[in-house]
Point group: C2
Chain length 210, copies 2
């Protein structure tokens, strides 16, 4: 399999963790987002959205949208599950994952930040937009699991919730959020980072890290 | 079951369609979003994100995030499936649904439009932001299914993809998009609107419609 992504893309990071968790080897092709390489015609043929990541299977089939890729990996490679078995627990894990994937990540990605800059905002104001989106979003995430037993987001095994949380915490720190109040999120992060599948997937260890 | 939502909320609309498709009766509680009713303390206890929809089950259990609710409905009420059986086809349907739910809807919802207004944009400029997000996002959606047989987004049965598309087309028109070029999306819309589960779920037929 080949992951088309970028070391700093949070959505690519999710898929790296999931592939590692499932024990699946993969190669990477890198697209420098700020140069718009993900909008080149050859890539748009694979993914008309012009967004990373895309997962290319060995037969050339291309899957897009990180959460859809995670669900596909879970359905086709059931070892080391990313979702619990009980439907209600699955719904809770997915709700947390989607709170990150829908309501935080896309509102602070490069496309939106460029649009905010294009309507006359300074670099500092653009950063403040991204900081606020992360702070408000992760405040809600902290509340969603405040009373759920850990150490991971949902119990004693990492799930899709942790796979979405960990990359978002990287962004939150990058944009200057004070993360210290998110004690439950930090507990989950510490538990995750002790696992090789998370530790080897961090942006700075990827071949295209700058 | 009780759906906590708002007639004009696209994410609430998705859940209305899915409940109708599964043949499940439900009551509705309405939250006027522009008055911030979804941020009242009683609602935040149910959903710390302060967003609609939330689905309250008869035992008081509350589910949040529309896509997580759809997945839960699919797992617990398998009749009239919203996803195909084949994992690759499921991945394609989910990718389309998430292209709407992650990359269009949250970037043009009331929260973000209020934030755009707060950084000094006029009503016309705010509308242009929303129009552009819908236009670019639905252009990509059109490309994603341009060569997929219809009449629905993916074949001869409606799926989660249609359930996400139909409410987004309502928004696209509201913000002034020229929808006429999206021939494949319009074909899917026409097929959907001929079905009672879609037709009865439109915003203007809900009890809280203004």
């Amino acid at each position: 399999m080949r992951l088309h992504g970028f070391f700093r893309s949070g959505a690519s990071y999710r898929v790296r963790i999931a592939l590692a968790m499932k024990g699946l080897p993969f190669e990477q092709t890198s697209y420098v987002l700020r140069k718009g390489e993900q909008r080149a015609p050859a890539y748009l043929k694979m993914n008309p959205q012009g967004l990373v990541p895309a997962l290319e299977l060995d037969d050339g089939t291309v899957l897009t949208q990180s959460i859809a890729i995670l669900e596909w990996l879970e359905e086709t490679h059931p070892q080391n599950p990313m979702l619990p078995k009980d439907p209600l627990e699955r719904a809770r894990v997915r709700a947390f994952a989607l709170a990150v994937a829908c309501d935080i990540h896309p509102v602070q990605n490069l496309l939106v930040l460029n649009a905010v800059r294009a309507i006359g905002q300074t670099d500092a104001q653009v950063n403040e937009w991204a900081r606020r989106v992360n702070a408000e979003g992760l405040d809600a995430c902290e509340a969603m699991i405040a009373h759920v037993p850990g150490p991971f987001c949902f119990g004693d095994q990492p799930t899709m919730a942790d796979i979405c949380l960990i990359p978002q915490l990287v962004n939150a720190r990058r944009f200057g959020c004070d993360v210290s109040g998110w004690t439950r999120l930090l507990q989950a992060e510490a538990a995750c980072m002790a696992l090789p599948c998370f530790a080897q997937s961090v942006p700075e260890l990827q071949p295209d890290a700058e």
